[in-house]
């Protein structure tokens, strides 16, 4: 284009600049007004994202509700037990028994596959401690089952790299309060670097698989 000496050259150059301004302007606009759902400094600018920072029970958004998962109050009542199993060895923990175990606090995000990610403070029992109770050996994977009767992620598997990690908890508290039923009360998994859908809520069973 630079070889053409006529007036069209200038016109083309101006419109190319305009095109780039339009593309980067719209990109910057969408990023600025959207990213607040995951980046706290941009939260005040959040006008278009489908989530808001800190919005929801326990100050954290939810993705799948207890109603959608068909979790009833009876299922998470006083009779609830967390079953932990390895082969023929099995232990059953009540909510009070889990609370009586050493509690650990971790800062981990829920990184949802829908595109939002928010960090929260979780408190609960180390998953490895619970699995130790049935004699799990280091390097063994586990399977976690939710109370929900149906759902693509009712059962999830967790490799040893997560189970052996001290940050991986069976969480009972979230942001300083008892875990809300929408966040998986009585107990849920929280592990670093796992998509939100695999942070199993409404835990009912943990089982060594290898």
């Amino acid at each position: 284009m630079s070889e053409s000496p006529d007036g069209r050259n200038k016109a083309a150059r101006t419109s190319r600049r305009g095109f780039l301004v339009a593309v980067f302007g719209s990109l910057a606009g969408v990023v600025a007004f959207w990213s607040g759902q995951s980046l706290r400094p941009l939260d005040p600018l959040n006008l278009i994202a489908p989530r808001k920072m800190g919005d929801g029970p326990n100050d954290l958004p939810i993705n799948r509700t207890s109603e959608q998962a068909k979790i009833t109050a009876d299922m998470v009542g006083p009779d609830w037990r967390l079953i932990v199993k390895r082969g023929t060895r099995m232990r059953s923990f009540s909510y009070a028994e889990l609370l009586a175990m050493p509690q650990h606090v971790v800062e981990l995000p829920i990184a949802c596959v829908n595109g939002w990610s928010q960090t929260a403070t979780w408190k609960g029992v180390r998953l490895s401690s619970l699995m130790d109770a049935v004699g799990r050996e280091r390097g063994q994977a586990i399977m976690a089952t939710s109370l929900e009767p149906k759902g693509n992620y009712r059962i999830t598997t967790m490799g040893p790299e997560f189970v052996d990690n001290d940050l991986t908890l069976v969480a009972l508290h979230l942001n300083g309060e008892v875990l809300d039923i929408e966040h998986g009360y009585p107990a849920r998994l929280i592990a670093p670097a796992r998509p939100g859908v695999l942070q199993t809520k409404w835990l009912s069973r943990l089982e060594v698989t290898t």
Binding site: T14, G18, A22, S26, L47, I48, T65
Partner: protein
Amino acid sequence: MRRARIALIAGGVLILLLAGWILLTTVKPTRYIGIVEWFAAAIIVHDAIIAPFLFSVGVAMRKAGRRIPLAVLAIIQAGLVVGAMFTIVLVPEILAQRNAHLFETLLPFDYVRNLGVLWMGTLVATALGVVAYFVWRAVRQRTSTSFQSLGEEA
């Protein structure tokens, strides 16, 4: 250039093949109808709504272009693109808010109001851009005029 084109086309064909393979191996055949519907809707939205709109904007711009400087047209076009981008993002959220049973933390804002706010902001930014262009042009003209007169005096 020829090599770059061949590489891009080959890359595109490979991605298409990969997409076809993923479609056939991971998507249930019962969902094929939905995918066809999506493509049909995309063609209708593009050919019946977006393309005629952009064409008429282009024609209007070209007619106006005889009187308005090209840079101002470019600024206005940039503003329209930015506003259109906000609209494309927000309209599905507005529709979803009206049609679906939502739980509390999904789509928590008044997106109709926010779309209005963003269009107003884009309008103001575009107007400021046009004003800035005219100021810049006036300053440049004055500078070049004074340089010229300096040259005449010397």
